[in-house]
Assembly symmetry: C2
Homo-oligomer: 445 residues x 2
């Protein structure tokens, strides 16, 4: 029996990950902008001892709002309100390096890390969409440019987080010394994309640096993850694909002087749970019956880059152009899925409706736990990004029935080990680069 | 007796507004980054039925961190965590139009408005400092440029807030209609500073638009306030100055087709409260004795634009250059104060230490209430921006002793009238400009 433990993240998405979730009797679409809905979800995740909750994000209204519950809340403000009602669960927000500003972003995440007592994480995205570019008055940057900017963005932000050493604040009221200014450093960054003087005007945070998470799986995306990420969310459809991705990404770490354990890989999994397999399949069918094909077809057309809205849905997916500038890895995944299982467009729509390309498994808690265990013990995952089809019900099902099964099997914690997100994930707290260089100077002198 | 009611805002500032607050036994400087401190303050304000709490902000580490408690939290994330533990008190965050991005800012405030059930306000600043410019890789823009950009920024942000009409979300599960896309509008803004397509990807908020607050008192600042602001925070030292500012600003509204009641003016007031006048003066003296002159002198040098750190402190303030690009109104206020009361530099430092140019009044609760009443009833204020010298104690003193006195005099509410910040301030909920124009089209056809 292994002593290695699974890591589980609850991917929170409105009233559920299934695109028809908002039409299902188990959800209330009006909760999309109700903070109490998300507070309930975070509490459920914490009750299940999950490592973290996570919010995806985009910077434009994506998809047809006639047919899906869109227009929700901004992740950082929302997670701060979740921090206020939880104690242990990590809080991971998506934010973009292409349309973000390093000083603002460094500060907001530092603030969330203080507010949550060390539970902040940043899911770094480079924003592939054209609609997003139009909200910021620029042409969509090329794929390689986005990643070059992201690299420098990371450099600036981590410098700012490091700019106050851990022991900079002294707080000596008698002597009138609040902080040791020698331990607060201007960062004096001047690069291709950014010039930032610093220091940050928020002190060093409980985690030192919020956890760095990434999800792009293109070649550029994987190299970026290998350099910077401490956790990776990924969409993998089969065990073989999961194993290949896992080995590939872990193998890249050595080039950057990193150990395999310094980056955790969490494939997405949408569990459709029933007390019997029949009940699970019934729920899946109910959701399928609520799909509005027009909605999924528009989404799919955007993903593959050709207009399918006037096609015959009962033919195979036509040839699609190779993506070079947008969301490369997502397009490849969708095409691979259609070809591998020889799907018609209509069948593909059903497959994508559950998890937008992430793996969907319908079954009993034991069957879901079997799948998780198989991937975890066979080199495909360090844990999972759980994407309940309906919320809050689907997360409750997972926490109340799958988590106990994983605990009985010795695969998952029964109590939190520590207080910070880094402690949940078993990752080290980074030292400030400025403290390190000062120490080296002292040693060298 | 008047039926007009005062409006009171609690200006939250670390462990107190006095620059030596962190050294006083009534504070704990370690609370600077502790969210529970601010949650306690927000609850105290709500217990006192105050209209709102407010967080100032800058985008650089201003002042000498050796001698003051600096490096606190970012306002929007912090207010979201305060929303989670309060029900009525308004939540006003400072954010910059010079270094902010309209889409991000519109979205974060919209999100805070949803999260708080309609209690969000934005204190609009144009960021006068040079250190701030260096954190964003640009030269500090000229004063007039900052205000021109601010005007266009406001136009974009209010368009984005209006982009979803109030009744855009339908939520008809049977019909599969989530929203009426005819009521969600691209904003298609293309101006001198910004190109933003929209719509916002967060739905219309409880207040329609978060409350717009402003604090600059230069000529440009006052015109900006007259065009856009619904509440103004201002530093006024004497009743006569307060009356002049009040009449001046209210008088400008008519040029923009606005009524005097559509903009509330709240001068700053730092109340040093004792159960006797002697006790209040003792507290004031205790704080004065903790001042570190080196700190205030560096601050003053920046404010007036000349290096005073090597001067004889017991001489009058020397002639200072006229400010044209930075914080004009603050420099004028400081110089006026020194000249009017014929202060030495040392005396000026003491006056500024309490409220950075805002009015400081030491006395009993009755004496503080007298001052408030005098300004309120004599055309100098619609309410006050309360700046307690020490926190939380100074806010507790105000809420427990001054507020009841104001309530007995019929000047202040005893229960909240509504749930939103606009309802607290007695201000109307704005209609979406897009809904209005659509209605006019229908009428015209």
């Amino acid at each position: 029996m292994t002593t290695r433990k699974l890591h589980l993240n609850a991917f929170l998405m409105g009233v559920g990950h299934h695109e028809a979730a908002w039409r299902h009797p188990r959800t209330e679409p009006a909760r999309l902008t109700d903070v109490r809905h998300y507070q309930q979800l975070a509490r459920i995740a914490e009750r299940g001892r999950l490592d973290s909750v996570f919010l995806a994000d985009g910077l434009a209204l994506h998809g047809d709002v006639r047919h899906n519950a869109l227009g929700g809340l901004e992740p950082l403000t929302l997670l701060s309100a979740l921090a206020a009602v939880t104690d242990h669960v990590g809080l991971i927000a998506t934010a973009s390096t292409t349309y973000g500003v390093p000083f603002h972003l460094a500060r907001a995440f530092a603030s969330l890390d203080h507010i949550s007592g060390g539970r902040a994480g940043w899911n770094i995205v480079t924003s592939a969409g054209e609609a997003e570019a139009r909200n910021f008055g620029i042409e969509r940057p090329a794929h390689a440019d986005r990643y070059a900017r992201a690299d420098e963005f990371l450099e600036v932000v981590t410098k700012l987080w490091d700019s106050w050493e851990d022991d900079a604040v002294v707080g000596d009221r008698q002597a009138g010394l609040y902080a040791d200014s020698r331990k607060i450093h201007p960062v004096r960054h001047a690069g291709r994309y950014f010039r930032v003087n610093g220091p940050l005007n928020t002190s060093r945070t409980p985690q030192g640096r919020p956890l760095l998470v990434q999800a792009g799986s293109s070649e550029d995306g994987k190299e970026f993850a290998a350099r910077h990420a401490e956790a990776v969310f990924t969409a993998q459809q089969t065990l073989a694909e999961g194993q290949e991705f896992y080995a590939d990404l872990k193998g890249r770490l050595v080039h950057y002087g990193r150990q395999p354990g310094e980056l955790l890989i969490l494939p997405g999994l949408s569990p459709i749970i029933g007390s019997t397999e029949r009940e699970a399949l019934l729920l899946e069918k109910e959701l399928e019956d609520l799909i509005i094909p027009e909605y999924g077809l528009a989404q799919l057309s955007t993903m593959v880059g050709i207009d399918l809205t006037t096609d015959d849905l009962d033919r195979p997916l036509p040839d699609v152009p190779v993506e070079t500038e947008g969301a490369q890895s997502r397009r490849k995944l969708v095409v691979d899925l259609a070809r591998r299982d020889d799907l018609t467009v209509r069948q593909l729509l059903v497959r994508l409706a559950g998890g937008r390309g992430h793996r969907v498994v319908a079954g009993t808690p034991e069957q879901i736990a079997d799948e998780i265990q198989e991937w975890f013990e066979n080199g495909a995952a360090d844990g999972f990004n759980i994407m309940p089809p309906v919320l809050p019900g689907g997360l409750e099902d997972f926490v109340d029935h799958v988590v106990p099964e994983l605990q009985v099997r010795g695969l998952f914690r029964t109590e939190y080990e520590g207080r910070t997100l880094r402690e949940n994930y078993g990752l080290a707290r980074p030292a400030s680069r400025y403290a390190l260089s000062r120490r080296l100077e002292v040693v060298g002198s």
